[in-house]
Amino acid sequence: MASAVVVLVILIGLELWNGSSLAIKKFGFHFLTTSTWDPVAEQFGALPFIYGTLVSSAIALVIAVPLGIATAAYLTELAPLWIRQPLVSLIEMLAAIPSVILGLWGIFVMVPWLRNYPFPFLKHYFGWIPLFTGPIYGPCMFAGGIIIAIMILPIITSVSREILRSVPNLQREAAYALGATRWEATRIAVLSYAKKGLYGAVILGLGRALGETLAVTMVIGNTPQIVASLFKPGYTLASVLANEFTEATTDIYLEALFEIGLVLFGITILVNLLAQLLLRTIATASATRAVQ
């Protein structure tokens, strides 16, 4: 039964490969480097989706990594003891919210708020940066990035927390003995000691960000284009699968979507392999446990 995991990995690989063989043969490597997505003319290029996935995940990481690691440091090093357990429970609850519900909240609450307050502010003061130019519609790449950040915050926080907890107490005691303040002990003795594991936590978060589907689909605007402005709608690999899979009318269209699935699987499996290797080198069973 344990070998089921091997069967599953092979199953995904084979099924996605078989499903997209026609598209792979027809478009070859160009599939990854062209940006026309026109089902009617049967022209398929995945570049806008790859771009959208990478950019939205990057926004998510920029937001979630500092917040997540700071929260983890707060939970293990800085917070008063009585506050730690309740906070951990709340973060676990956040992790339990399904993607579709966060998406629902995203379209009806978060996007209108972003459109009315922070976005005009950013445009007014930072409009000279190409990232913040152009009209503000509401659903856009930026909103997608923010919703992904919310989705991956719990995993980055809880894995980082387990890693910081696994730092030996001697490290802290040594720093305090030298007269370090609490923050200095955290920075010098704990955070830098745990650096490798924290990279693992971040890359694990990246893996989740790349595959996040429903919530992003609901707020990113679903337009395949490559533009600098974050206020413009985008599209991700996972979203195009969610939206167009049941609408694929021709064989080649379906095969192209299978190939999108293959690309997504390829990217996420590489990222997850890297994350697991990093987490394993610091060898904490507790860190891998937090992943679930």
Partner: protein, 286 residues
């Protein structure tokens, strides 16, 4: 010179307090979305959670009213199907990893299970689409259940293995010394001791897949009526929420909020039940 040192010391203390404050603000920002989501679910959903919601089928397009009875039952059916496949495979796989096999191969299997846990759930939908839907030329409850089961397997496998490894070796040795056979030791002594932990893992996995939408989009597909056969499309609560949320009708938006409130309540109840089950044991056993 002396005063310089004092200033430096004060500055270091201020910096430490500042860092603590920033870390605290980060923690607040992390849990802020939880509060906001819950608040809006309550104010937008509570008025629409009524008897009709639990007992009626969706109203025809354009009409106001109706409920999500079929979606709630559909979600439970899908969970049962997924559990029927995913629980035995996951639990037995976990037992194998903890009790049998060579250490080297097991660590590879464990690694693969962890990697599988990070694969986007929509990928499973695509795989099952190719495997079942294309082959039988129909979206079906079976396909939906299978997609969810495949997500469950690596999850349950890892949690089961971990709680079984926590069972002290003395228990096994005592049973084996009494001449109890290996499999009887595992079933009656080891699994029984770890049963709470195993059940916890199963419940958490069910709560997790109960909210999954992406793998159901093109397997279970959704259905506005009751499902009469496992070979036909079936409705599911998260799917219905998605369809209603992106629709242009206000009445559907209202029901999406209600559905979301019901779904979140269900998932939180399972999580609280789990906490109740594991109470008194260290957090490490979850």
């Amino acid at each position: 010179m002396y005063s310089g040192r004092t200033d430096n010391h004060t500055w270091r203390k201020i910096k430490s307090a500042l860092a603590s404050a920033i870390a605290f603000i980060s923690a607040v920002l992390v849990i802020l979305p939880l509060g906001l989501v819950f608040f809006y679910l309550l104010i937008n959903g509570i008025t629409s959670v009524n008897w009709d919601f639990f007992t009626k089928l969706p109203a025809p397009v354009g009409e106001v009213g109706g409920g999500m009875a079929n979606a709630i039952v559909g979600s439970l059916e899908l969970l049962a199907l997924a559990g029927a496949i995913g629980i035995p495979v996951g639990v037995l796989g976990g037992v194998y990893l903890a009790e049998y096999g060579s250490a080297r191969i097991n660590s590879v299997l464990r690694f693969l299970a962890d990697v599988l846990n990070g694969i986007p759930s929509i990928t499973w939908g695509v795989v099952v689409y190719g495997l079942i839907v294309l082959r039988f030329k129909s979206f079906s409850a079976l396909a939906g259940g299978l997609a969810l089961a495949l997500i469950m397997i690596p999850l349950i496998l890892r949690t089961t293995e971990e709680v079984i490894l926590l069972v002290p070796n003395g228990y096994r040795e005592a049973a084996l010394a009494l001449g109890v056979s290996r499999w009887k030791t595992i079933v009656h002594i080891v699994m029984k001791t770890a049963s709470k932990g195993i059940i916890t893992g199963i419940l958490l996995a069910l709560a997790r897949i109960g909210g999954e939408t992406a793998p159901l989009l093109f397997t279970a597909f959704g259905n506005r009526f009751w499902n009469h056969s496992l070979r036909e499309p079936i409705a599911a609560l998260p799917l219905q929420i998605f369809t209603y949320a992106i629709s242009p009708y206000d009445d559907w938006h209202r029901q999406a909020w209600a559905g979301a409130l019901v779904l979140v309540t269900g998932i939180f109840c399972v999580n609280i039940l789990v906490r109740f089950l594991t109470r008194g044991r260290g957090p490490s056993i979850v």
